[in-house]
Amino acid sequence: MTWLLVVMIAGYGIGAVGALTLGRSLFVRAAATSGAIIGAGAAFILGSANLLSGQTLTIQISDILPITGFALRLDGLGAFFLVVIGLLGVPVALYSFGYSAAYEGRYSLRLIGAMLNGLLLTLSLQVMADNALTFLLLWETMSLSAYWLVVTEHDQPGTLQAGGWYIAMTHIGFAALVAMFLLLSGGDAMSTSFAAMRANALTLAPLARDAVFLLALFGFGSKAGVVPLHVWLPMAHPVAPSHVSALMSGVVIKMGIYGLLRVTLDLLGGGPAWWGALVLAVGTVTALLGVLYALMEHDLKRLLAFHSVENIGIILIGIGAGLIFRSYGLMALATLGFIGGLYHTINHASFKGLLFLGAGSVLHATGTRNMEEMGGLIKRMPWTALFFLIGAAAISALPPLNGFVSEWLVFQALLGGFNIPVPEVAVAFPLAVGMLALTSGLAAACFVKAFGISFLAIPRSHEAEHAHEAPLSMRIGMAILALACIALGLAPFSVVPLLGGVLAGLGGLPDTRSVFTLDLMVQAPAGFAQVSPTWIGLGLLILLALIPLVMRLMHVNRKRRVSDTWGCGRIGQTPRMEYTATSFAEPLRRVFAELYRPTKELSIDFHPESKYFVKSIKYSSRITPLFDRVLYDPLLRLIQRISRQVRRIQTGSLHLYLMYVAVILILLLIAARWF
């Protein structure tokens, strides 16, 4: 299997080097795409081979890094995430070939191509890192290459600011991770290998373990986009090129999930129930707030970004439930929770990747992200519309697509909550069930809006009117992910046991490969419940074929006539008569007004002669997200105030600065003398 690793690294390497060195822009794009496809393809195969065989791959290169060397080890958990990276990497690479053509002459294609390969490389290696230094090094490289990709369109308003937020949040998280690894290694530089940490974690004081867990939740949470650390996500994802958004949303933020699992489950070996309860609570809040803000969003890519927040929440609900069950020794249920979380991870990568690519095609065709200026695209871009519809149905958890399966697993894990002997903890589970159900209901509403307003009815702008279908490479990229959504939905019976294998042995979880298998079915432990999306999918298909057939046999009137839209007899229909995204979301905005606190502004311009004639009416309404209001705005104000104070001592006079240096030096000398 080592050769696959070599192929993977070589593929990415060729892609990056080729993109940087080749001359014509077509070659640059081709090199970046083919390199990334080879690399991601090899990553996918390597991951799958590892999952199927269950072998671990270990590689140690001592000379690259000081102290512990560059250590790679691919186990089941890493292999699973590697599969996710490969699954998304290939279509994204393919898509980027067509998508980045529009960047020619405006932005550096070389940088985009090289950074794409760099990002994929660091991601693929990240999940194999086997010591703290390797992990942190790759983590930082990944963050930085993602940053360069995010700020590709640097001359667009808001891009640099979004990049700034991203890099700031990710570094705050990074600081937490450094502290976490320091604690885990017990301050001993030689024991930063994960194996040593695993041993060391057992001897740590409970308080230190708690601290490690909290730092991990904070550090990885900032990457994953957990509320309230999610603020960078809805800023950075929309401004990035769409294939990068897909990659960011599909896998980069999943690294936060990977890290959290790696540290809490693998290195720490699980913990007390309140860890799980905290993750569960954070997950529930993240899911609900994510979808609630998505509903109010009319920028298609920002809407999708908020949905990434929501789905991270759902994943965390599964993981949180798993951690709680594990702490009570309910191993089968714990595995179910973790399987739900992991399954949702790969599902989210496929449907959110698909949706971002679809949104990218729309942006490519219309030049706008504003849903209020779209409409009627289903006729102009039929393939993109079909793929986007599949993604929208999948993310809304509609059977027989993949979103349903993972949400079902998470639901079943939560339903097992009554097995917990402590009522105070157990009572959290029905609440989580309710909130998860609300989340998925709202997500369905949101995607009816997203698809309905953008793709259906009549075009709302000139650009939408003249939209064109995406080029072939982009369509194939989307098709691969659409097929993945369908396959993952129809064949959960083959995925679930694999995930059971991934989890076997992590944090003392048993090997549940045999428990969860049943022909064409998915089953919760102890026969609690079972479903078969495969059969349901088949049944739906048969019925869809049967209904028209029966109707023909019954001599149903088959005439169809096309006529004007019925509008109570009015003469013509213009886009201004259509329902808008804002009006679609209005009922929910009223229902949740307490949370949104919308501000309204209405200004009416009257005719100078008489106030019975109105010249124009301007209505604007805004909502400020909760955490911007209560957390970030005050924080930023505080930082600004402090900065202003600090500026006083920074006068620009060289003499003064020299004096500062002297004073500090003297103080340090005194201090050194003292201690």
Binding site: R561, S563, D564, G569, R570, I571
Partner: protein, 174 residues
């Protein structure tokens, strides 16, 4: 709540016979059953179009759906969209503003369909004749199957007219 239902049961069914003599009603109901059963599956959906009436006719038509005349017992009901309708019930002279909407409503109604023009206005423009705001009678704008005379016609007459229209049905394509 008990009071409400007590009243309901005390009142009993108030739906009345349609004409002065019972034989006529029985005949009428029989006709409706036969005709509509065969032609429109005993389920007739009506879309009402006010093409410019004085609303006198509308008041009578509304009477059809009330408990006394209760057109629903024959499977006749009013719908909210011409897409769901089998019959257009048009009242009044067609005014300039309603000419296009009336045509559009006719176009929007799926075949097989019928048009019944209710009231004298619909046929002759009545007191509104030669007004500058009036285009003309209903049949100038869309093909009409049956005219129901009266200013305004009684609900029973309207019902009879609807039946007469159903009679014409075989001649149209179905």
């Amino acid at each position: 709540m008990p009071a409400l239902f007590k009243k309901i049961f005390q009142t009993g069914i108030v739906t009345e016979p349609l004409g002065p003599d019972e034989a006529e009603i029985i005949q009428l109901v029989g006709q409706v059953n036969q005709k509509t059963q065969r032609l429109l599956g005993r389920a007739l959906a009506i879309r009402e179009v006010d093409a410019g009436s004085c609303n006198g006719c509308e008041i009578e038509i509304t009477g059809l759906t009330g408990p006394v005349y209760d057109s629903e017992r024959f499977g006749i009901h009013f719908v909210a969209s011409p897409r769901h309708a089998d019959m257009l019930l048009v009242t009044g002279p067609v005014t300039r503003n309603m000419e296009v909407p009336l045509r559009k409503t006719y176009e929007a109604t799926p075949d097989p369909k019928l048009v019944v023009a209710v009231g004298d206005c619909a046929r002759t423009c009545g007191v509104f004749k030669s007004s500058y705001a009036v285009v003309g009678s209903v049949d100038k704008v869309i093909p009409v199957d049956v005219f129901i005379p009266g200013c305004p016609p009684e609900p029973a007459d309207i019902l009879r007219g609807i039946l007469a229209a159903l009679d014409r049905m075989p001649k149209k394509r179905i």
